[in-house]
Amino acid sequence: MADLDCTVDLGRGLRLRTPVLTASGTFAYGFDAPLVDRGALGAIVTKGTTLRPRSGNSPARIAETPSGMLNAIGLQNPGVDAVRREYAPRWAAWDLPVIVNVAGDRLEDYVEVVRRLDGVPGVSGIELNVSCPNVAAGMQFGVDARLAAQLTAAVRAATSLHLMVKLTPNVTELVPIARAVADAGADSVSAVNTYVGMAIDLRRRRPVLANEVGGLSGPAIKPLALHAVWEVVPAVSIPVVGMGGISGPQDALEFLLAGAAAVQLGTVNYVNPNAAREVLDGIRGYALERGWSDLRPFPLRASPVPSHA
């Protein structure tokens, strides 16, 4: 059987051997999920990383909901310096690109984190988390096109790495924000982060999460996330990396048909460590059945003409 060329070029030197990535916060820094078949992965996206170490929110931090889960981890991470000193050297020995997800409260912090990662062997790209809903003021950049563009431009100036900007779906209109970050120099956008939700403990009569609110992920959000990708794809001329509730090959195929260049798997990693392999096999099967030799025929709609190609 002829095999499929599964490579994806996200731009600025970030070439993936497969369109299947792990999503930030669901794979830590790539060392703790031995059951996942790395051969199926195109890249790893790390936990959100901040300038200084953070210990995160009090428990409870997670709660199951119908076909979903809420999380309010609160960006627990060892800080960028630990990442570049301890983790990056190990990543440099891998044949798998690592994209560091970067978070912060202030523009200067984001820029500084990215500056410290720039040129570090083992770091292949940045995913800018403008959308973490769990830190006070963490929403500010992602919900406002002007601020999101400002942040993107500032970070763009600080690195020559591939810059992926991760969109929050908790907005009235996603398209203007996607356009703004694309125009400000993002190489790709990823969509979407979690949806703000909550759960209440009937017995204790208080919110289940210590943080009260959290981000919803998992199959429950798939129709919403797919719609977000469907909207953003024709609006921007850079690749869109889709995610949100992908639980297997069929969901991933829906995102590719909607025009996503690649997909990220998040919560499903907790449920089924084989998911990445199954998704890749499913993509292969679907494409080969249709006689395709690469991933280009996937999108149902023609892409817009690149504005800066």
Binding site: A28, D32, P59, I73, Q76, Y270, N272, P273
Partner: protein, 266 residues
């Protein structure tokens, strides 16, 4: 960590060894070969609207027959689904995960279990006996019918306590522990948070160093492997321990008990 396996294990037996509890025995030879008392498995559930796997301590390890035993109560949709499994059915298992109990050679081992917290201690007791030790197992329950029969702890000395005084010591298992507690012991404890806190209080009062107590933590879990950072318990050193990676079995001195109130969901 890296030894965990993913299996579609076959259920070989289901029973109700005591009231309010179900015992499931599954065939998972690779895991049975390596699982240690105190470790846990993530069990896939296929109940409507559920998503995450459910963490369960291994209650019996039989490498010779490739079997694992689990002991649990039905509290929600996931455990209800698990309790409906019958011999021949398959269940997805990831494990063994986390750190088990690490008994030290010298001290006299006392296992203290409240309610279904007895589950990991069944495996530990068997392991200790096989290692030539003679553990004392203190089992507390609401009522006599909810005690695991003593013959499940062959070779151990078994003492019981019931809240309603229907068997053994009348009252809490911590009260029973007080009657046998001594400084040269090592305690292995699993149960609800208030019980854990009472055990810590007793040890402090007695002068038993907290590092001689090992606790099997129970927190909500997402991944079970250290990637979601969901399963935290306040650490004495500041910040948090991950129940799935630093535990579930941790030395009691590693936990900041003053901050622990919020750590438990159930």
């Amino acid at each position: 960590m890296s030894v965990a396996v993913l299996a579609r294990a076959t259920v070989v037996a289901r029973s109700a060894p005591m009231e309010g509890a179900v015992e499931l025995v599954v065939l998972d030879p690779a895991a049975a070969n390596i699982a240690q008392p105190g470790q846990f498995f993530q069990m896939g559930v296929e109940a409507p609207h559920t998503l995450l796997p459910r963490p369960y301590s291994v209650a019996a390890v039989d490498p010779d027959r490739g079997r694992l035993g689990f002991l649990f109560s039905v509290v929600g949709a996931g455990s209800a689904w698990l309790s409906s499994l019958e011999p021949g059915d398959r269940v997805r298992l990831i494990g063994p995960l986390g750190r088990g109990f690490t008994p030290s050679p010298g001290a006299a081992p006392i296992c203290v279990g409240g309610g279904l917290g007895i589950a990991p201690l069944v495996a530990l007791s068997a392991w200790l006996v096989a290692a030539g030790r003679r553990p004392v197992v203190l089992q507390g329950a609401r009522e006599a019918a909810r005690l695991l029969p003593a013959d499940r702890f062959p070779g151990a000395r078994i003492l019981t306590a019931t809240d309603d005084s229907s068997a053994g010591w009348p009252g809490s298992v911590v009260g029973l522990l007080e009657t046998v507690a001594a400084r040269e012991q090592e305690w292995f404890v699993c149960g609800p948070t208030p019980m854990l806190q009472a055990v810590i209080g007793l040890a402090d009062a007695l002068g038993l160093p907290r590092q001689r107590i090992q606790i099997a933590l129970e927190t909500p879990m997402g991944c079970g492997v250290g990637t979601c950072l969901g399963c935290v318990t306040p650490a004495a050193a500041g910040g948090y321990l991950l129940a799935c990676q630093d535990g579930p079995c941790v030395r009691a001195d590693r936990v900041d008990w003053s901050r622990v109130e919020d750590a438990f969901h159930g």
